[in-house]
């Protein structure tokens, strides 16, 4: 359903030493009806990969197939096949919650009647129904996030991309989200591609996992395979063994590394 073959993305001039290789020779494939978790530390290349899979970014080299189609060649056809919940905000904050749902429904050709029913069900599920007529600008961070997810689930695509969907969500909403996503997967056969920082979620939801670090895939397989490979008790343990324990910065520069070292040496002092 999703295939990436030797995928590369370089930002900046590839010949200069300032070029950033965000995604480096990434190969994986996601079978139809599978829940696939794409894990990695901050700045590992997860979002860049998703952007290349979802027609938002052209790969520097390598190939992508979504349901057999190349996003670079037939973007519109590919867009008809997936839905996405973005990591960062993508709501119109000058519109109301319901207007955001409506707009999305029209963009994705959801029939009017279905649109109304599903919008109501989803807004109720994520506890936003009472605030449906409020302008999104007045929403708290958690509410915006919930609306973002409700909107992403308004239509039923073949493939659902979830880019850190639970970031900033309370446990209740998180639970609702996973129940819903699993339901879509089992009942409607929706293929799910997700990224998350919460290893327990990936462990519970995903059938297969790939771990990416510094733009490269360092391991992939089922959760059990990864645990066996690293001899770790949990997916979290396996993840730390594979990617190390240093904290990553989105754009790690030598200066940042020095600052981090300085912090370590100075201990608690500022």
């Amino acid at each position: 359903m999703i295939e990436a073959q030797s995928l590369n993305k370089v930002f900046g001039d590839p010949k200069s030493d300032k070029a950033v290789r965000a995604v480096n020779d990434v190969t994986f494939s996601v079978k139809p009806g599978e829940i696939f978790a794409f894990l990695g530390p901050n700045g590992a290349g997860k979002t860049t990969t998703i952007q290349m899979l979802t027609t938002l970014l052209k790969p520097t080299s390598g190939s992508v197939r979504i349901d057999g189609l190349d996003p670079a060649e037939s973007p519109l056809e590919v867009r008809k096949r997936f839905g996405i919940v973005f990591q960062d905000p993508s709501l119109d904050s000058e519109l109301t919650a319901y207007e955001n749902m409506e707009l999305h429904g029209v963009l994705y050709h959801v029939p009017r009647k279905v649109r109304a029913e599903r919008s109501e069900a989803l807004l109720k599920l994520f506890d936003l129904w009472d605030r449906r007529a409020s302008i999104v600008k007045t929403f708290s961070g958690g509410m915006r996030r919930r609306l973002e997810i409700a909107r992403g689930l308004l239509h039923t695509p073949k493939i659902l991309f979830l880019d850190e969907p639970t970031l900033g969500l309370d446990p209740q909403s998180r639970n609702q989200l996973w129940t819903l996503v699993k339901g879509l997967n089992t009942n409607e056969g929706v293929t799910v591609f997700l990224t998350t920082h919460y290893m327990d979620e990936a462990e519970k939801a995903a059938q297969r996992v790939a771990i990416i670090d510094h733009g490269r895939i360092v391991a992939q397989g089922t959760v059990d395979e990864l645990k066996a490979q690293t001899g770790a008790e949990s997916l979290e343990g396996a993840f730390l063994k594979l990617t190390g324990t240093t904290i990553r910065d989105e754009s790690g520069t030598p200066a940042d590394a020095m600052r981090q070292m300085a912090k370590m040496w100075q201990g608690g002092r500022r």
Binding site: L57, R79, D88, D92, E94, L95, E102, V106, L107, I135
Partner: protein
């Protein structure tokens, strides 16, 4: 069609909800009306050229339409900044329809804004010579609005930071406004300035509006309309192309 409609509706809703901004945006036309409409009235009288208020008002209306339409197009930049752009970019609809919807929305609010400026001008004493001129004037407002909303979309699609905005403001929008003849007669200029004004798309809009409202024009009605229609098509094409090329 429904996609064009929702994108259009979005622009209208956003506009109508920003009441404070609407009122604020009328401050500039008022200022221009006072400075150029009344400030130059003695000069106009000495030259025996009628009323400066009558002469300036169509130019100020054109200014209102120009700024509103081009900024609505550039609003695309803010959609990129606040993330909403992504939502429209991955939607399974041709980008041309998205772009058309928002450009028409931007053009519509520019026409509303132009009408508000017309009302402000009338409060300051402006009177169209002929009431039948109002529909013709509205047509010119619509043409100006489409030309510059489309140009704004093209600019907004390529702009990645606020520095770009300053550049566009100083080197494109202000020259378009000042060279359009909004504030001076287009006839009897020296040859360099004549060339500059004839290269400025807004000149044809200002000329058309002035012709409709007060019967003074430097170019023919047919020329004004044809230039604006051709430019609308060209800029819509340019905007659609730029919009279809957007990557994050």
């Amino acid at each position: 069609m429904s996609v064009i409609y929702v994108m259009w509706l979005r622009e209208i809703k956003r506009y109508l909800r920003s009441r404070a901004q609407i009122v604020g945006s009328l401050a500039q036309p008022v200022l221009y009306m006072i400075v150029f409409g009344f400030g130059f009235s003695a000069l106009f009288r000495q030259a025996g050229q009628g009323s400066s208020v009558q002469f300036i008002a169509p130019g100020i209306i054109a200014m209102g339409v120009l700024f509103t339409s081009i900024f609505s197009g550039i609003g695309l930049f803010w959609d990129r900044q606040f993330g909403f752009l992504k939502e429209t970019l991955v939607a399974p609809v041709p980008r041309l329809t998205i772009m058309t919807g928002r450009t028409l929305g931007g053009a519509t609010i520019a026409i509303i804004q132009g009408t508000l400026v017309l009302i402000v001008c009338m409060i300051f004493g402006f009177r169209p010579e002929n009431w039948f001129a109002v529909p013709v004037a509205l047509m010119f407002m619509a043409l100006i609005a489409i030309v510059f909303a489309a140009l704004g979309t093209a600019l907004g699609s390529t702009m990645k930071d606020m520095q770009g905005f300053q550049l566009i403001m100083n080197f494109l929008i202000m020259p378009i406004f000042f060279l359009s003849g909004a504030l001076f007669p287009l006839a009897g200029l020296n040859s360099a300035l004549t060339v500059a004004t004839r290269l400025d798309p807004l000149s044809y809009g200002v000329d058309g509006l002035r012709g409709a409202f007060i019967g003074i024009s430097a170019m023919s009605f047919v020329l004004d309309v044809s230039v604006l229609v051709v430019l609308s098509a060209a800029f819509l094409g340019l905007g659609a192309w730029a919009f279809s090329k957007i990557q994050l």
